[in-house]
């Protein structure tokens, strides 16, 4: 017996160590850690390593900061000029987008949509990784002490990064979207097709569960759908890189993430998401018809028409077309197109001011149903290609103004004479032939 043990001592030790580890694996598989629960040994190990990593990262940051801010000034004037130009451009964009956002909020109020607002975020520094190819876990330098909890979304200004899976006192683990265990509810921006974005072992991300008979083009943007209850709806995920027929009747859509997941250094953790109605304190007296009217060019009052009463529809068309050239600076809309299909900045010039809008608003108000649902439902269906979902998550960034093509052209083309009864116009809202909502 002693001879046997002595002769096979090495192999026996090897077998014993392997056996112990396999038993340990079996125990972990049998009793997996609950969500948010951390094994004590991991807690100790990560808590021991985190201060070292944080110190190294912050020392590196400090050195880099000192170099770039106090020593290395080359090209800073040029950069300053570029940034100023960028600010000017962004001011123009902001003016245009704020107009659209106001419009969107009004429509949301009318539809009683609840929005998901990112109420507060926390900046964090990536201090480490799992260190292996099989796991793409990231470590950030904020943890339970800073209010981080599991399932919080982690983003960058470019796009989403992942979600918090484990929290330690001074650090947290982030599961990036390209990890093989990750899954994110996603929607294609143009076609509004919903799927699940999954990572893989080699770091590629694919959008799954989209039927192979759907038309998806490379380059289309992918957004979060909000269905996973982790990421608010409408955040940028990435762009479609390639589309191939997959197995099981689904497309194999490869997505390039917007955020540089392999070189992410600073992230934002969304610590609070509020779900509330858009602020409607200044929107209450405005009806859907008024919103639509604001998009229309002003119409100068004609003494002749005032005297003769309401103009005939053809005359009204001509008048509005003329005023569109003069007030808005845009040519009149062709059937099937609209002024709102152009950048909103162009139409913003046509925003009615003061009393000039009144003559146009009045007949529009009678022509378009004043009830919010009646005014807004068709436009929402047009934009998304599907009926509005359950009324949850709908951020303003994602929500476009209600099909401007219809909004501005339908009152103009479909304006009945003022002697038309409102009830008749509600039953048959007239539309020009080219303004039919696109089918998904």
């Amino acid at each position: 017996m002693d001879t046997f043990l002595g002769r096979y001592k090495n192999l026996i030790v090897l077998a014993a160590i392997l056996f112990a580890q396999i038993i340990g694996l079996a125990v972990q598989v049998r009793r997996p850690a609950q969500v948010g629960e951390t094994r004590l040994i991991r807690l100790w190990a990560i808590s021991a390593v985190t201060p070292i990593e944080s110190a190294v990262v912050h020392a590196q940051q400090w050195t880099q900061h000192a170099w770039t801010n106090y020593v290395y000034f080359r090209g800073i004037r040029r950069e300053n000029r570029e940034l100023r130009a960028q600010i000017e451009q962004m001011k123009l964009d902001e003016a245009r987008l704020s107009e659209d956002a106001r419009m969107a909020r009004r429509v949301q109020t009318l539809l009683e949509f609840k929005e998901q607002y990112v109420e507060s975020t926390m900046a964090a520094q990536v201090i480490g990784t799992s260190g292996s190819e099989q796991s793409r876990i990231l470590y950030i330098d904020k943890g339970a002490r800073d209010g981080i909890k599991t399932d919080m979304a982690v983003i960058t200004p470019n796009g989403i990064v992942g979600k918090i899976v484990q929290v330690f006192p001074a650090s947290a683990q982030v599961l990036p979207i390209n990890d093989q265990f990750s899954g994110v509810g996603a929607v294609l921006k143009d076609t509004r097709l919903q799927g699940i974005l999954k990572g893989s072992q080699n770091g590629a991300t694919t959008l799954q569960y989209i039927m192979s008979d759907e038309k998806v083009e490379p380059g289309e943007e992918v957004l979060t759908s909000g269905g996973d209850r982790v990421f608010p709806k409408g955040l940028s995920v990435g762009k479609v890189a390639s589309v191939e027929p997959g197995k099981d009747l689904f497309l194999n859509i490869r997505v390039v993430p917007s955020a540089r997941l392999d070189q992410v250094e600073e992230v934002l953790v969304i610590t609070r998401i509020a779900e509330k109605m858009p602020d409607a304190k200044d929107l209450a007296p405005i009806r859907a018809a008024d919103i639509l009217a604001e998009r229309l060019p002003t119409v100068p009052t004609k003494p002749g028409t005032e005297a003769a009463g309401t103009p005939k529809p053809a005359e009204a068309d001509a008048a509005s077309a003329t005023s569109g050239r003069t007030a808005g600076g845009t040519p009149p809309s062709q059937p099937g197109t609209s002024s709102a299909n152009k950048p909103a900045a162009a139409t913003a010039g046509a925003k009615p001011t003061g009393g000039t809008a009144a003559p146009l608003k009045q007949p529009t108000t009678t022509a378009v149903p004043a009830s919010p649902a009646g005014a807004s439902k068709p436009t929402t269906t047009t934009r998304t290609g599907m009926p509005p979902s359950n009324g949850t998550a709908r951020p303003a960034a994602d929500l476009q103004p209600p099909s401007h093509g219809e909004a501005s052209s339908s009152p103009r083309k479909a304006q009945p004479p003022s002697d038309a009864t409102p009830g008749a116009s509600q039953d048959q809202p007239a539309k020009p032939p080219g303004t039919e909502p696109p089918q998904p």
């Binding site: 990593e53 072992q201 070189q263």
Partner: protein, 180 residues
Amino acid sequence: MSSRVMPYRGSLTSREQIAVYDFSWPALILIPLVALLIQIFIPAKVRYFPIIDLPFMVTIFFAVARRNPISGCLTGCVIGLMQDLFAGPNHPLGMYGIALTVIGYLASSLGVKIDTENPGSRFLITFVFFVLHQGIYFGVAHGLLRQAQLWSWSHVAVSALANAVIGLLVFAFLDRFKQR
């Protein structure tokens, strides 16, 4: 300081006696820790660093230098479990532990038979053991845990080549900690 000379009849090298090195306790503890810290820190800054596996190299280095199968598999087990600790909640403890235990055992057993001071043999050992390491990990993940794993020969070959080249530099650096 304990460089011993161990006669071994089964040696495949031309030398009849193979040196067995020892290391100080601080080196035995700190070298794996530093390797692990670098392994989890650098990939956040360098994109393709995860294909380099420093804990694996340290395991092989200690195993072939000490030439003791028991200490080799114990070293591999400890380093592998430490690597498992940082790999995330979906990565049970023991996956790297099992792989590096076997690698440590085999490397120390092989170290008894061949000359591992030669850069050529070091290159070959690292290359072959890296492929074996990936195979064991794949077997544990796929066979024991039923995890979906991809196996790509080309990727494994490139990774093994990169590790073998970097391993030459790492081994040359770690040779300084051998006690003679």
